[in-house]
């Protein structure tokens, strides 16, 4: 069966099927939610402020629900684009399992709940940052940036970068320089991560009219941009060791992981990844340019290990390199 154009009967059958609870969970983008929870928890722990475990748990839950709300709003607003892309056409809204209005309603209700509970449990700063993040992702990124500029994921990446600041603010009521440093690391990590992905799903974005960098500027410019951001990222990731945030474990992870990241980014820059389109059926299938796929996979591991190192150091009470 041609996956590019499912027959009407298949679509009609899907639309006629009642939505399952799993469809609503899928709207919350649980995979994205898990990364958001992890980085927010790191920010909360790094704040070094005594906090009730109950309050900490509720704060992390609020951030998770807020991230889920953003995902539901995104899937509601983006259903027209998602229906045109192989990677996303099986999502609950474009496949007809969930109504677009239901996805948007779920997103709005969960947004209000998450921000309200965050305010009640912690403080106004954390709640305001959470509200800003949801609005920025659902409105500024999804409705505007994504459809209008090849810099969409650069600016829009701020939404994914803010959770550690929210976690820090939830614990301490403040957002100091080190909290924003964690935010900056994720912010600079986002372009090479998503552009590596976009190099092997360019057809999808082009078909949907999304002006991703490889679609607008071509794969060669994208590979150069990935290398530039990778250099910036690796340098920035070393900074926490100098600001009293990271210790020896963190420095070792940031340095060794940074070398691997740069080697892969340089290999990608020299490759022809993205020059030949077609073939990639999905995000996690083993097709597409190997250089781009390798960097995409390593970028996830790199960010995870950076934050895991901070989490382990703070949890174990290990000393930082600078006090």
């Amino acid at each position: 069966m041609d996956r590019a154009s499912p027959p009407l009967t298949e679509t009609a059958l899907r639309a006629a099927a009642p939505a399952r609870w799993q469809d609503y969970v899928e709207l919350l983008k649980p995979r994205v939610m898990s990364l958001v929870v992890f980085t927010a928890l790191t920010g909360l722990v790094c704040a070094r402020t005594p906090i009730s475990p109950w309050i900490a748990g509720v704060a992390v839950l609020s951030i998770a629900v807020g991230a889920g709300a953003s995902g539901a709003l995104n899937m509601g607003f983006d259903s027209d684009i998602d229906a045109l892309m192989r990677r996303t056409r099986h999502r609950p809204v474009p496949s007809g399992r969930v109504q677009r209005s239901d996805a948007l309603a779920l997103g709005v209700v969960l947004s209000l709940f998450s921000v309200g509970v965050m305010w009640l449990a912690t403080n106004l700063l954390a709640a305001a940052l959470l509200a800003f993040t949801i609005v920025f992702y659902a409105v500024v990124y999804t409705l505007w940036l994504k459809r209008s500029t090849p810099q969409n994921i650069v600016v829009g990446g701020l939404a994914g970068a803010l959770p550690p600041v929210i976690g820090w603010a939830a614990a301490s009521g403040a957002a100091p320089l080190n909290a924003w440093l964690l935010c900056a690391i994720i912010f600079v990590w986002t372009p090479p991560h998503f552009w590596a992905l976009s190099l092997y799903v360019t057809d999808d974005y082009a078909a949907a009219g999304v002006p991703m960098l490889p679609v607008v500027k071509g794969p060669a410019a994208t590979r150069r941009a990935i290398l530039g951001y990778s250099i910036l990222l690796v340098a920035l990731a070393l900074a926490p060791a100098a600001t009293g945030l990271g210790g020896a474990v963190y420095l070792a992870v940031a340095a060794s992981g940074g070398v691997i990241f740069l080697v892969l980014a340089a290999r990608l820059a020299r490759s022809h990844a993205g020059d030949q389109r077609g073939g990639a059926e999905g995000l996690y299938q083993v097709k597409g340019p190997k250089e781009a796929r390798d960097l995409f996979a390593v970028s996830i591991a790199y960010l995870f290990l950076l934050f895991a190192a901070l989490l382990v150091e703070r949890s174990a009470g290990l000393a930082t390199l600078v006090r």
């Binding site: 009642p18 609870w21 009730s52 109950w54 309050i55 509720v58 839950l61 509970v117 009640l120 449990a121």
Partner: protein, 49 residues
């Protein structure tokens, strides 16, 4: 405007969604209760004797 589909599968799915919403609301009430108690304990401890 087309009528929403009805039938055993739809009714079952709607019932499950209603139960999920009820559980979510119950969880919300419990969270608010726990947060209120924890924060009140903190303030009581601040006041002291």
């Amino acid at each position: 405007m087309s009528q929403p589909p009805e039938g055993p599968a739809w009714l079952k799915a709607r019932r499950r969604r209603s139960i999920a919403i009820a559980l979510a609301l119950a969880a919300f009430v419990i969270i608010v209760f726990v947060v209120t108690i924890v924060r009140m304990q903190g303030h009581v401890a601040d006041v002291g004797f």
